[in-house]
């Protein structure tokens, strides 16, 4: 009898008739009662592997053994029957329905012709009491906090009898407090005899809570070792295949006068609720101000107000003497503000346009117009070629559709475009989201070059390590307010965590 609760042997998964190989002969072995981390870059194949485990995909070849018995997992239903449950990174909860309705979706109890919602409610109470995870069965999902929603996800799979729980990037959307709570919940579950697999790209987290680590790179399992033998460098090397630098050399730059000044900025969101609550900060020439904070703390609305995409209710924003609030996005750009939005595909580019046309996007009228009505395509092509060389965008084809580029190269196009604009102030949101570890280095270098050129730089990121890496000062946002601004030298993850949760630092 195997001591492994799960063995996935020689798993191979291809798509498009063999053209895309997502999993290439992966073997994964999980011991009962352990916390096993699966680590890998975007697109390495870890999500695919877990989807096979959960029945959403079928392996092209290979076998899965659960409790030593060979199994064919046809779909999530079968996986649940076996006792395998997955907590997804993007929750599989219907936001308009209640907790109870989400719990019983797919296995609805019936009373005659009707849905038996009372039984559903009772079931929710029973499971939440058994595992000590309090929840209101009638609460509507969209009203719950992110941490609570995750709790519902966990209860959902426990309700269906899960013994092997798979977590996909579980702490990506949680504030430090909620992260601590989740770690406790995981320990409790292990104590109850469960086994946990979790996917994470946060190397520190993996070192903190896992027992065993498997690294996946380009569809293959390239390393497997117990956590006590692991270091960040060892894991990252396995992920990328070469040594990785963790901190980029920060240039020593003398910071100049104050360039950007934000005072008492008040902004409301789409629902009319205050999202940016009387925020104050300023940025000097050659300074990088990082904004840390869990998503949804107001960063999005802050950036929208600064770039003219959203009206502010009150306050001022001044860039070298010019007031920016109330101006159109175009005018603000002309005042010298560049902007790299957080979701390049959704907000910064036109997917149907060629790479050439995307380089020009936003400055097409100013830089490339032949007369009042027409575009100078020859000039656009020439400069596009030049930019591709300068910023190392591949493949070197200006007429290819933007959608065909890899995530990292797409980001380089956007970054190039914005950096090449005449600007004094640049706003960068989530600069390396969806970008492979290898490309992160080069993008961070570009950001630091801006500092060297004496620009004022505002970086917003949910990746604390990125903020710590790049910033001269760090402002923390929570619930629309800036709860504190720290000099890099004084900042620690702990202090920032406290500020992110809305707490205050002791005054010494």
């Amino acid at each position: 009898m195997s001591e492994y609760i799960l063995e996935m042997k020689n798993i191979r998964k291809t798509f498009l008739g063999g053209k895309v190989v997502a999993n290439d002969d992966i073997t994964l072995k999980i011991e009962k009662g352990e916390k096993h981390a699966i680590v890998g870059e975007n697109g390495a194949g870890k999500s695919t592997l877990m989807k096979i485990l959960n029945g959403l995909y079928h392996p092209t070849s290979g076998e899965v053994y659960y409790h030593g018995k060979g199994v064919k997992i046809e779909g999530p239903g079968e996986a649940a029957k076996l006792g395998i449950g997955m907590v997804y990174q993007h929750f599989m909860l219907v936001p308009t329905l209640s907790v109870a309705e989400n719990m019983v979706l797919g296995v609805e109890p019936k009373k005659g012709l009707s849905l038996d919602i009372n039984t559903a409610r009772e079931e929710v109470k029973r499971v939440s009491e058994k595992y000590g995870l309090a929840i209101d069965p009638d609460a509507i999902i969209s009203d719950l906090s992110v941490g609570m929603q995750q709790r519902v996800e966990i209860l959902k799979i426990l309700f269906k009898g899960a013994n092997l729980l798979v977590f996909d990037e579980p702490t990506a959307v949680l504030i430090p407090q909620e992260v601590k709570e989740l770690y406790k919940i995981m320990d409790n579950l292990i104590a109850e005899g469960k086994t946990i697999i979790f996917i994470s790209h946060k190397l520190q987290e993996v070192l903190d809570i896992s027992d065993n680590i498997t690294v996946i790179r380009r569809g293959k399992d390239v390393a497997n070792f117990p956590t006590e033998e692991a270091t960040k460098e060892k894991i990252a090397n396995a992920m990328v295949g070469r040594p990785v630098l963790f901190t980029t050399e920060k240039p020593e730059v003398e910071m100049g006068r104050e360039l950007v000044s934000v005072n008492n900025l008040l902004v409301k969101n789409n629902k009319g609720i205050i999202a940016v609550d009387e925020v104050n900060f300023d940025i000097r020439e050659g300074e990088i101000l990082g904004i840390a904070g869990v998503e949804g703390s107001g960063q999005t609305e802050l950036i929208e107000a600064l770039t003219g995409l959203r009206k502010a209710e009150a306050g001022t924003v001044v860039l070298e003497g010019e007031a920016l609030l109330g101006k159109t996005p175009k005018k603000i750009t002309l005042e010298g503000v560049a902007h790299i939005p957080e979701d390049r595909f959704k907000r910064a580019a036109v997917s149907e346009f060629s790479v050439r046309d995307n380089f020009a996007f936003g400055v097409h009228k100013e830089k490339y117009s032949k007369n009042k009505f027409m575009l100078n395509f020859a000039k656009m092509a020439e400069e596009a070629k030049h930019f591709m060389e300068k910023y190392d965008v591949r493949p070197r084809e200006i007429n290819v559709g933007f959608g065909r580029l890899s995530g990292g190269n797409q980001q380089k196009v956007i970054v190039a475009r914005e950096l090449e604009k005449e600007h004094k102030f640049i706003i960068i949101a989530q600069p390396t989201r969806g970008v492979d570890i290898g490309a992160i280095e080069s993008i961070h270098k570009m950001v630091l070059e801006e500092k060297e050129k004496g620009k004022a730089v505002l970086v917003v990121s949910a990746e604390l390590s990125e903020i710590m890496n790049l910033s001269d000062r760090i402002a923390v946002m929570c619930g629309g307010k800036i709860t504190g601004i720290l000099d890099r030298a004084d900042a620690t993850e702990e202090k920032i965590g406290i500020l992110m949760a809305g707490g205050k630092l002791d005054e010494k």
């Binding site: 959403l56 999530p76 239903g77 219907v94």
Partner: protein, 291 residues
């Protein structure tokens, strides 16, 4: 007083075809499939009901014929939108154009007419109210229970908001959507049947006259809920009913302007309501299941 009662009855009558078609549209869209083809399904329903009534001599079989025709048209829309993941708006428009052409063509082939069918057997009334109208209001009330208190209704709502979540708990998203779309066509067909063999006793060319689109407006106005749709449909029915009344009493306004009222009202309703009306999140997006 007598006038008020007749106005109320007229409102209920005029609202009925819009209401049932809008309820149908609601089922489809709540499950995530946009259905612009309601007008065409209604028209086919009206035509088929009349034709079946003519050939069988039985108006009640005619009702069935109308619903089946609407359901078949919806089936085409369902296959194009669900199985082949086509653009749902284009498919809907195509069905409308097809229904227009097909009904005119069949008028010529079957009856050698270009404007209308001959008189056909008509559905009976209870009191002064057509049986179809009673049926329609019954279905409308039932739809509230169906959507919120049954397993299928829950699944429809889930599939329209977050199909992936439903898929991961083992629900067959396509099956639920097929059901919703075909039901929407059958209900639109019922609305059409009322037009031809409930209110009148014949089919006339283009007799749906945009009611399928007004039903869409009622759907938006009613925020995709049965109660809201009922209220909106009554409002539009009132505009329609009031129109004939106004024409009797106010003869200095040309009748064509009065006939415009329901459409202008729809525009105003859309303009006023937007911003607060939130469609089902997954509406219009084809769902790709990988297993």
């Amino acid at each position: 007083m007598h006038m008020l009662i007749s106005l109320l009855m007229a409102t209920l009558r005029q609202a009925a075809p819009i209401l049932i078609t809008a309820i149908g549209g609601m089922f489809s869209e709540v499950a995530g499939v946009i259905n612009i083809g309601l007008e065409g399904m209604m028209l086919m329903g009206a035509f088929s009901a009349a034709v079946v009534s003519y050939y069988t001599g039985n108006a009640y079989v005619g009702i069935l014929g109308g619903m089946i025709a609407g359901g078949l048209m919806a089936g085409i829309h369902a296959v194009l939108s669900i199985k082949y993941k086509g653009n749902q708006t284009v498919s809907g428009v195509a069905i409308n154009l097809f229904a227009s052409g097909f009904t005119v063509f069949m008028l010529r082939v079957l009856f050698n007419q270009s404007g209308n069918t001959p008189t056909v057997p008509k559905v009976g009334t209870i009191g002064n109210v057509s049986i179809i109208v009673i049926l329609i209001y019954g279905v409308a009330i039932w739809s509230h229970y169906f959507l919120y208190k049954t397993k299928t209704g829950l699944r429809m709502r889930a599939v329209g908001e977050h199909p992936l979540a439903a898929d991961t708990v083992g629900i067959n998203v396509a099956k639920v959507r097929y059901f919703s779309v075909i039901m929407s066509g059958a209900l639109a067909g019922l609305g059409g049947a009322y037009l031809s063999i409930g209110a009148l006793s014949q089919f006339t060319k283009e007799m749906s006259a945009g009611r399928g689109f007004i039903a869409l407006a009622a759907l938006v106005f009613g925020k995709w809920t049965p109660k809201g749709v009922l209220a909106a449909s009554l409002l539009f029915g009132f505009a329609d009913a009031g129109q004939t009344l106004i024409q009797q009493y106010v003869d200095f306004i040309p009748p064509q302007f009065i006939q415009m009222i329901p459409y202008i009202l729809t525009l105003l309703a859309l303009a006023g309501v937007v911003g607060k009306a939130v469609a089902p999140s997954a509406a219009g997006k084809p769902y790709e299941s990988n297993h």
